[in-house]
């Protein structure tokens, strides 16, 4: 009743100046114990996968065939076949895995074990633990350098970013950052690591050569208390020119110019925005909004929110299947 076919078409044509091609988006719903599958073109949920308890960290193999999900309360990493959407196995992750990162060669998974102050290194093919690296208290964020030689783990209570040599599995540097570091993201050229601090409300930029904080990015939104600004997920565009930072209960994603380290824009999304993912065509950033139970699609050209799509309860992580 409400819309005319052509009017809707015209509207979508003008809102989506360049319609994104269809990608499959996987969202982990922490409270629902499910993964919601979303079609990025239709911008609607097309399916759900039942997984273990409290799914949080989510990533996908580089060929897009296997989805890895941290089932935190089941103390395991589940592997899901993206063809059949069936769980095909588990990886021995150690207790309470929260976030992980897959090495650039796709062979090794580095998992942060929040309760045990460990980073577990897993051989994906052999499905076995290669080693356990003791880090600071409550490790959470995990980043890997583009060449795969350096791993960064952030520990929430120690407030440090630990630089780990991927060969020796030894910590080489500890860099103090702001309170409760949540996420570590390497620049595509490997020159910098961006670490978000949830309570500190900042993003620290660490030089990968000197291992020193060179910039601290702060956020300010008129009408919001500073405590409401809690940076979590970070995504840097592959050309390295723009970075997106999810600001938690501020309900916004900050767009940062990586040359000036200035915030250029705040994009309004759903409530308690947590993690971010980029589509392979680099046209869309997707944010998970935990409290409003939805995800928001953001156009990376205009940096405007296009649409929000309801998923399961407490969406936490998001990953897009490469094509």
């Amino acid at each position: 009743m409400k819309r005319l076919g052509f009017a809707a078409l015209a509207a979508s044509a003008c809102i989506l100046a360049n319609p994104a091609s269809a990608f499959t988006v996987y969202v982990s719903n922490e409270r629902d114990n499910t993964i919601t599958i979303v079609d990025s073109e239709k911008m609607e949920a097309v399916g759900t996968i039942k997984v273990g308890q409290r799914p949080r960290g989510i990533t996908i193999s580089h060929d897009g065939k296997v989805l890895y999900v941290c089932a935190s309360d089941d103390d395991t990493v589940e592997m899901i076949d993206t063809e059949t959407n069936q769980i095909i196995g588990t990886l021995p992750s150690g207790p309470d895995p929260e976030l992980f990162v897959l090495s650039p060669d796709g062979k090794t998974l580095y998992v942060a074990n929040e309760d045990d102050n460990l980073v577990t290194v897993i051989d994906v093919e052999a499905r076995s633990v290669l080693s356990e690296i003791p880090v600071g208290v409550e490790p959470e964020g995990m980043g890997v350098s583009p060449d795969g030689s350096v791993i960064v783990s952030t520990s929430e209570t120690t407030n440090m970013a630990h630089f780990i040599d991927a060969e020796t599995h030894e910590i080489t540097d500890n860099v103090l950052v702001d309170t409760r570091p949540r996420y570590a993201e390497f620049m595509p050229d490997g020159s910098e690591v961006w670490v978000s601090a949830e309570i500190g409300g900042t993003v620290s930029v660490i030089d990968n050569e000197t291992r020193e904080v060179t910039q601290t990015i702060t956020f300010e939104i008129p009408g919001l208390r500073a405590e409401a600004i809690q940076p979590v997920g970070v995504k840097i565009m592959p050309d390295g020119k723009k970075a997106y930072v999810a600001l938690g209960p501020a309900n916004r994603v900050a767009v940062i110019n990586t040359e000036t380290y200035e915030v250029e824009k705040y994009v309004l999304v759903g409530q308690r925005v947590w993690q971010l993912a980029l589509t392979p065509d680099e046209k869309t950033i997707i944010s998970t909004n935990g409290v409003s139970n939805d995800i928001t699609f953001i156009d990376t050209e205009t940096d405007e929110a296009i649409q929000s799509v309801t998923v399961g309860q407490l969406p936490w992580g998001v990953v897009v299947k490469p094509q």
């Binding site: 509207a11 003008c14 939104i221 309900n251 409003s292 928001t296 929110a305 649409q307």
Partner: protein
Amino acid sequence: MSTGWNAASAPDTATVPALPRNLGLRQYLICLRGICVREGLRFIHQRERFVSSLVRPLMWLFIFAAGFRQVLGVSIIPPYRTYVLYEVYITPGLCGMILLFGGMQSSLSMVYDREMGNMRTLLVSPFPRWFLLVSKLLAGVTVSVLQVYVFLAIAWFWGVKAPPLGYLMVLPALFLSGMMLCALGLLLSSLIKQLENFSGIMNFVIFPMYFASPALYPLWRIQEASPLLYKICLLNPFTYAVELIRFAFYGQVEWLSLGIVAGLTALFLGAAILAYSPTRGLVNRKQDTGGNG
């Protein structure tokens, strides 16, 4: 209108002049132009009026919206596809507000014309009464719609932006909504005896219509607070004008609103024509008590 006088006095007889009924389209257009130009001139000459008509919605946008600003966004309701800021939400309502005040302003000008005697000049013209009223209506709406676009331009610089095509698609919605509100104004003007009573319009028409509508807050919010108030909102013609404008901004047609606004436009206009008709109208009777010289 001078053209009207000339045409009427052409067949000069001692008794009541027989009105020539061979008025062509050209004459009609001249009349329409005359009324539009007069409305336009009045508008341009009263620069304060132009400014004040813009200041009102801009104050709401800059000050009220800032104070009331739900910084965390308004929850998603159609036609919005994602979270929007409060400023974005109230902009269609503020467009409606301009049209509403414009409509009432034309009502005021009718009463003023009647008191000052200008109305007689208009009403003795040989053109049918309905045509004069429709011309008056079109003139008033055109001025209001122009105001809306100036307002939207300022809002655009303030960062309140609709999809580019929306600015075009909203035009028919603005026009139709303006027609409805102007027709309502005309109808009311036939009921008001004196200029002083205009403040009553403010109290009993403009404010209730404006506040009991989704202009400032989504209707589901009102429903949450009071189901009765929600029903009142649903009976408010302005509700549908605002929703029609809101959906048009996003290239969508809200058919229910369109139907109601179009229907009410016809109803109000018909009633106004009836009220102004020389034989049955309310105007003649009212004029006795008015301060008409």
